[in-house]
């Protein structure tokens, strides 16, 4: 199922961007990796179209710290755009495998990582084992977020 991203994000807002790069200047993801960056994302959306962007795995590098929103002189809600793009990417199957793995764990165990080792460490320090995660509740929440519509898991 494909979905038009502009349903979730006002395309007009993008035309306000004049590429000053204040957003990328304070982007922590750009500091550590060759992420697309908020400025580059907007430019690619405008010049190459949204299809080209959502094929790119780099849309997942954003850590949603929202500093770009704060820095933007044109008040473009960039983080909203990035989230909308990732939704769109997910519907096209462009999701990093490690993210899918975490999701699978979450739905099965209620946690995003395996905690057996953690339990051993806790016992070593005399702490009680972790209580079981409320898997059903987590699933219900995931269902409510509409994640199932976007991904099969």
């Amino acid at each position: 199922m494909t979905i038009k991203i502009w349903k979730f994000f006002d395309r007009e807002e993008l035309y306000e961007c004049y590429q000053c790069a204040r957003c990328t200047g304070s982007c922590p993801a750009m500091e550590v990796t060759a992420a697309l960056g908020p400025r580059g994302t907007i430019l690619k959306c405008l010049n190459l179209g949204h299809e080209a962007v959502v094929q790119d795995e780099k849309v997942w590098f954003c850590c949603t710290c929202n500093v770009c929103d704060d820095r933007c002189p044109q008040k473009i809600p960039i983080s909203e755009l990035l989230v909308a793009l990732r939704n769109s990417a997910a519907r096209r199957g462009n999701v990093p495998s490690r993210l899918l793995l975490s999701l699978e764990l979450l739905t099965k165990t209620g946690r995003t990582m395996i905690v057996h080792q953690l339990d051993e460490m806790r016992a070593h320090h005399g702490l009680a084992p972790l209580p079981p995660a409320p898997v059903d509740e987590v699933r219900a929440i995931l269902k409510k977020t509409g994640l199932e519509e976007v991904l099969d898991f």
């Binding site: 590429q19 790069a21 204040r22 990328t24 200047g25 304070s26 960056g37 400025r39 002189p73 008040k75």
Partner: protein
Amino acid sequence: MSDKTESTAKHLPLDGLRIGVYVCHCGKNINGTVRCEEVAQYAQGLPGVILARDSLYTCSEPGQEQIKGDIKEHDLNRVVVASCTPRLHEPTFRAACEAAGLNPYLLEMANIREHCSWVHLHDKDAATEKAKDLVAMAVSRAARLAPQTEVTVPVMRKAMVIGGGVAGIQAALDLADAGYKVYLVERSGSIGGRMAQIDKTFPTMDCSICILAPKMSEAGRHPNIELLTLSEVIGVQGHIGNFRVRVHKKARYVTNECTSCGDCISVCPQLAPDEFNAGLSIRRGIYIPFAQAVPSTFMIDMNICLNNQGIVACDRCFQACSKKCIDFADRDHELLLDVGTIVVATGVDVYDPTSLTELGYGKFPNVITTLEFERLINAGGPSSGELIRPSDRERPKRVAFLQCIGSRSKRSNPYCSNVCCMNTIKDALLIKEHWPDTEITVYYIDIRAFGKGFEDLFQRARREGVTFIRGIPGEIIEDLATDDLTLLGENTLLGTQYRSTVDMVILSVGIKPRQDSELLQRLLNLATDTDGFYMEAHPKLKPVDTTTGGVFIAGAAEGPKDIKDSVTQASAAASRANILMSKGEVKIPAITARIDPEKCTACGLCARVCPYHAIVGGKEEGNYRVIEAACQGCGACVPECRFGAIDQTHFTESQIVEQIDVALANDPHLKILAFACNWCSYAGADFAGVSRIQYPHNVRIIRTMCSARVSPAWIERAFTKGAGAVLVSGCHPADCHYNNANQNTARRVERFWRRMEKVGINKDRLRLAWISAAEGAQFAKVIREMEAGLKTIKPAEIENAAKKLLREAKKKSDVT
């Protein structure tokens, strides 16, 4: 109420009418959307019309000759031109009528360009139908026009210039040289303004104060200029040609015998930040703003003087002064000055970047603004022209300039500040000139080098080794040990991240309207644009006129501009003022209110709403009357009269009621009837047209001078005729061109809403909107919203409401 308007409408003679209608194609501007030929054919069939033509350009010489010829040949006694907005070409066509011997007030215009063809570009049929309606409305109003004679009032041959920056000085000198007495009013202790603070000017790299100082002293000693420093305008009364201005002149505490020898400075015990040096140095309690100040007289800052109100008997300056110029008994006083014209040149403030916390201005000592830099590098500045950085007073080896700080941003000012690019390039070259080994990087978004000689200067900076990097830093980090600054950002052209360390950062800050510009705006009834700058009467053709007659604008108060543009505009403003004063008289439009003494019961309600105190009289005299020279023609008094004793010349009840009736002749339930004031809302609708902002075509606009002229009787008539919706629109509450006459509009509309509620009519059908001349988009939005609301109302409901209103009005008139 409705009966009254009905009867006046019917009583006017319609016999003997010979109306000529001219439908202008305006090239393709109108004819591209409206079928002009069809409109002209339609006009031919309207009552009173004996001739209707369409022409390519009616405003052209042949177009005007055609009108003149027809007036003579066909004995026309009314002319209707359907073309652009009357705000543009009404004077043109009035002159044509007058030249052919027809009274200019017998011309009427239908606005089928700004209000029709340009805003309904994609619906030719609807636009043509609307144009027909607009022409029919104009013809019906034309039929009721009467010849008028304009009153002339004398123009006093004295001028006032408010603001003593370079624009104000230039305007004052031009006017004084032309032979007029000029009052130059300056708020601070010396004239000179921002230009006096700047070190060099771009693109010629002239020394700023060196070229300004001769002009300053010329203004200071000119026999025709009376310099009023430490003075502010606090009140303005009167009108074009005859203003009475109240000026508050603060005490200087030093007489003008002062030779500025400076003996008093060293003995003064009080210190304060030096405003002229942007707070980078300190001055004493007794001081002169800067060495070249005009008048060259010291002044005492009473806020810090120990002898304020004699609290401490410090008189060291008095003792030190050999000429005994210190006068602690000096007091503030008020002046009343009569002038014929006023030039406003109040200049701008500088943007304060403190709120952009990521840049650390105010927190990191080595982050400074361009204005501070100008003082630092100036020989007369706090460091005697040595470039030092504030933290350790060492010379910076690596300097970064950041562009567009506080400009082009929704977080601060949305507009481009116009001067910062070139100012930075000039500053970078200045550093290179004195200390060529300095590494200079300019972080920019776009370099706007648009003026004469600007591109050359930009290229020169690049040749001399200034690095330009596209991409503004998002973050500045300070090294606590060295006070050096690290900039984090992206070079957008390379697509790489940078992290560069520099010794000093200079923020190229933008400029903004004066914080208190609103005060003068209200005193002089000026309009401001959406950015807060004073607005010109027309952006292209009247760039230094304001909407208030006899008041002109110059310099950056009108919008960000450099020195050359400010001086150009100042001379233009002076020349415009000169035209008025050299003629010595001016014609006042014949749109004043008139009171019928027979009908007047001397209740005095009209006198209470008049914003100009132009209505005098009383119970003892038996009636009230209008002073024609003082009446500005807003018409606020007319709807206030319960006895129908007042009417406004050229905007009479019968003329407008006729327009309403014709506008609602066909399918009234689908229509929005809009009343728009001449200065703001009608101009706003014009602006929507100029900007080609499309909106629903079912709106019919009727122009009044002020929204306060809109009578509740008109609204009632519109609804009883079955109008779908009615819009009353005027200037924003504080921006009314008639001294807040529009508060009457609000009061009357609110009362009508209550009446609608009582009778049981959906009150959303009457809307009140404040739309300024710059808000074309807002006008379109209001119409779109009203159209959307109208779609939810059934025709039966409209019909029912009309009946209810009629019944209620009849009951009311039966009682009275």
